[in-house]
Symmetry: none
Subunit: 198 residues, 4 copies
């Protein structure tokens, strides 16, 4: 009799966003349900109408986080540009995604640190694998387009992903001394040059 305009999914998303904001600001572990509730502008108990437990929030936050990260990357990969351009764009997008919101980027640390029995399941493997898959795809296209020699080592996707992640890591930890954009660009150039040079 009262349809109530509050869409359950919308509300859940609102709370989740609030949670991600607090996690970004203060980290997951020190964050209390109370903090999330305050940020979301609801009462503590309300949280439990949308999530089954504190860990459930983390798991959901990770999902949302990962999905958003992959969505952007996938779009790039499907564009019509030459494969190597797309590769560069992809690397730049990864860096840009992280540097646009450093606090948000820091969350991954908390995701990584989640352990212990009953802890939220945080499937990093899936994301990295997907990243590698997309990069492998582009490398194949680049070879097909004649932009790269045929014998690209199979480790290359892992190397590229690792390179970007590793540079971002250093930047997060020491923003004053590491410029992730130039570093990642330089690294990609070097790698591709190396691939071509052999």
């Amino acid at each position: 009799m009262s349809p109530r305009p509050v869409n359950k999914d919308e509300k859940r998303a609102e709370i989740l966003d609030a949670a991600i904001r607090v996690f970004a600001r203060a980290g997951f572990h020190p964050t209390k349900i109370e903090d999330v509730a305050r940020e979301a502008g609801v009462a503590k108990g309300t949280i439990y109408l949308y999530f089954t437990s504190r860990d459930d929030i983390l798991a959901a936050a990770f999902e949302r986080f990962a999905d958003e990260a992959l969505r952007g990357v996938r779009a790039l990969v499907e564009s019509a540009e030459p494969a190597l351009d797309r590769l560069h764009a992809l690397v730049r997008a990864m860096v840009a995604g992280a540097t646009a919101e450093p606090e948000l980027a820091r969350i991954v640390f908390d995701f990584w640190a989640v352990r212990g029995p009953g802890a939220a399941t945080v499937d990093f493997a899936r994301i990295y694998a997907e990243h590698r898959r997309l990069i492998a795809l582009l490398l194949d296209r680049a070879v097909a387009e004649g932009a790269l020699p045929a014998d690209v080592p199979e480790q290359t996707p892992a190397v590229l992903v690792g390179l970007v992640e590793g540079v971002l890591l250093q930047w997060l930890v020491d923003p004053a001394r590491v410029a992730p954009g130039p570093a990642a660009d330089a690294a990609t150039d070097l790698l591709l040059a190396g691939l071509t040079a052999r």
Copy 2:
């Protein structure tokens, strides 16, 4: 009354090692002081004779961890080999150090995730900076030795460190699908080839 000539520092180190073992096994956050005490074979109260707080243990664990990591690397850098060989050796050592004890390597996640007021100070910046400094040194030597052209981009050390860290990250998260040793080797080769090729 105490048969072993354990002085204060030794005992502290023993407890610290025990703590690191537990952290490696179960992660820092889920680990209770009680767990550390049990692993160290002492009573809970004893821990507080050697550390001021739970966070203090983590900070100390990080220090020990970082010092050991740097010690090995420094030794390599000071050897008499050609600079490029030392560079390769350094990369291999970093990977080997992590892959020898995956559980131990996972601890860095916990270090990263430490945040919040009053939390232990974990100075990653220092370690990464030192790593970069050593690599820059080797690159300079390689240039001096004529093994590399003169215009090595300044981002290169960050790229090399990032590369190793990033590959290790993927391996930790998905050991079945990423072989960090070959990947890091391949990557270094590519990078150096790229540097030479331009």
Copy 3:
């Protein structure tokens, strides 16, 4: 708007019956308002249109329970049979009432356990007193009818009530080993034989 001509009292009764069903199945203390609402097919808030509080439901349940128990017994007592027959019938009815719905019988445990400030008022004394009064009446009639000697001890009604209750208790707690019907019958026979024998 509401097709069924349910007036306030009927609806209240419906909810009450639902509540009693849930209490019987799961016990009063573990039962949430939500459970009652679900069983009654209404929303949680609706419960509060008919009851002022959770305890209020229990009190009402007890009233309904007690009234039903007494109604049956009173009917028996007012029949035209010889007093001793009515006494036997009464005992049998008490046992039958409980054994017909063991789960329902268990509710009395919850009624008994209700305590604490603000708790529902559950007036067991009234029911037992009424039971004793009815039995005393029958004993008097039996004496008048010459079926029993005149000097029936005044404790006899309490003894008869207690006997049935006590046997039922053992049956509830250990249904496999206590047969309440035969036991109560045997007991009544013995008691009456005892009364006559002196």
Copy 4:
């Protein structure tokens, strides 16, 4: 190195006694761990050094309660008196045990009312069965001693136990109007008279 005179079992028993006192006074369900702690003169956390959960306390309380109840009864049964005297003594002891501490006797209500998943296991069946066993023993002895005819109905022990329990129940619920001692005595006399009379 510090033997500490606090015996773990003793302390547990102390807390348990405190808990039983509070349960007796206020009932199990409304009693908070905090209340037990206050009564025991310890802090909340201390309770959990001796009991695993709130329910665990109830289970332990029941055990202690039951054991004490049975201990007294067993001693009586093993005395050298004529069996019928022992039977009377037993009934009187049951009543006396309850009437000496009405508040304590009320606890059984709470025990009965314990239900729900994960709830403490309260094995009433065991106690009643043991009571019946002891009474059956005495009845057999009485027959052997020639004090009772041979054909004592098998329900008799259940009847005797029920009788006492049922009378106590009425007294607990309405102490002003039921005198459990006389009632139980009278009832036993009547029953035994009935047994002999047939």
